[in-house]
Amino acid sequence: MAMISDAPALQQSSEPAESATAPSRAARYARPMLGLLLPLALALGWELVVWFGWSNGRLVPPPSRVFATIAELARSGELVRHIVATLWRVSLGFAFGVVAGTVLGAISGYWSLARRLLDPTVQALRAIPSLAWVPLFILWLGIFETSKIALIAVGVFFPVYLGVMGAILSVDRKIVEVGRTFRLSGFAMIRRILLPAVLPAYVVSLRVGLGLGWMFVVAAELIGASEGLGYLLLDGQQLGKPAQILAAIVIFAILGKLTDWLIEVAAAPFLRWQDAFGRAKGA
């Protein structure tokens, strides 16, 4: 893995990078804005098309109607109820999936006998499309929260398990040897060598897991729920309210991005040593 290679990187002091970006701060913020141009233009265009009456916008409501729907849902308190329900399910499912994935992934990565015993089974289970579990989970765990959270946890589990195991297996043997020459005990070796070496890949697997968690919460709530953003989707379809469907989609997008960003921000202080690489690549 590039991040733990100890090859000398190109010499890069922070001063020139600083002075290069300072005068062009406007340019730095302008560049991501470019990406917004297309969706904004499309939204505005559609808004105008409906405004001028060229389309009635019944099946594809204009942005203003979608935002009006969101505002209305927010005013009635419905929105918060649905968001809380969905967030609660994602959080619990994510937590269970991460704990199970981390523990089993760490065991398989660290201990080759466990890997031989455990990994083939996990890989076989992984080959099953996770949604195929739904009928079984409903039979076993009922139609309410438990089966939904189990489904989300299953979705989160696999990327985390694979990420942790793969990260441990690919820790540079040469760095581990440095730990050995300084006579680190098993625990110190884990704390001072393995954990920091594994962290970047772990954060990536958490983010992938979270993305799958959001995917599966939709599936779980479409199957049968009386509240939650997935319920809003289904309700919008059954009552023919496309604006409500789009409103739910927009909120999913915002929440998904927001939670992903939370992981990124929480991990940033521990991954500062990688910054130079990210900066060089982005420049």
Binding site: M3, I4, S5, D6, A7, P8, A9, Q11, Q12, S13, K174, I175, E177, V178, R180, T181, F182, R183, A188, R192, I193, P196, A197, L199, W273, A276, F277
Partner: protein, 261 residues
Amino acid sequence: MLALDRVSKTYPNGVQALSRFSAEIRLGEIIAIIGGSGCGKSTLLRAIAGLDRASAGTVTLDHEAIVSPHAKIGIIFQEPRLLPWLSVADNIGFGLADLSAAERREKVARALERVGLAEKAQAWPRELSGGQAQRVAIARALVPQPEVLLLDEPFSALDAFTRRDLQDHLLDLWADTRPTLILVTHDVDEAVVLADRVLVMRPRPGRLFDQIEINLGRPRDRNSPLFENFKRSVLTSLDRSLDRNVPDRDATQGPGQAMWW
């Protein structure tokens, strides 16, 4: 004193990498181990470091058998092997976990000063050049004050100028506490510049072939005729260890050649 007594190593695949290697190395001596590829010199170093156990024979430091990494034995590898998530200062202090934070800071600061990287204390390893990174690795190995420092082709990945600088720098640092240095190299020049004694190894299976004392004062002038003489005798011995037919290189006999058979 570091004593190697008939150290042998056979790998599980049946390859005999090292056969009955014996040597006695005094405290403060600088030893260079040189030999063709596959002569087991790295295997030997790893056995001394306690990273790999010998299949037979013993390594003892002051009558204590070495079977696992030892506090009095430090090692520097071909690559710096710095921990990329630690700053330069924290990398140097890595082996000082037992000390109090204040003591550690003080020792690290002194070491940084000593290797001339004080202004890089808070830099990340990836921001260093190859030579700087290897200097950090040297500081990291020296700061716990080992009695024996092992070096496995430590400068072979560096360019010629940096290599010379670091060879001189290593001698300079060595003079502070005078640990035993055991240096594996394939560079004859490096062996003669640094070592008190050059051990020539012979491959398949790896074993000791010849020893050449380098009776030169320090600092050594790389261009002096005497230096050239020692280089020539090491080269001749190396050629013989590989069973190459050597035309009599020169009438002037280097001291090591007397050891031939």
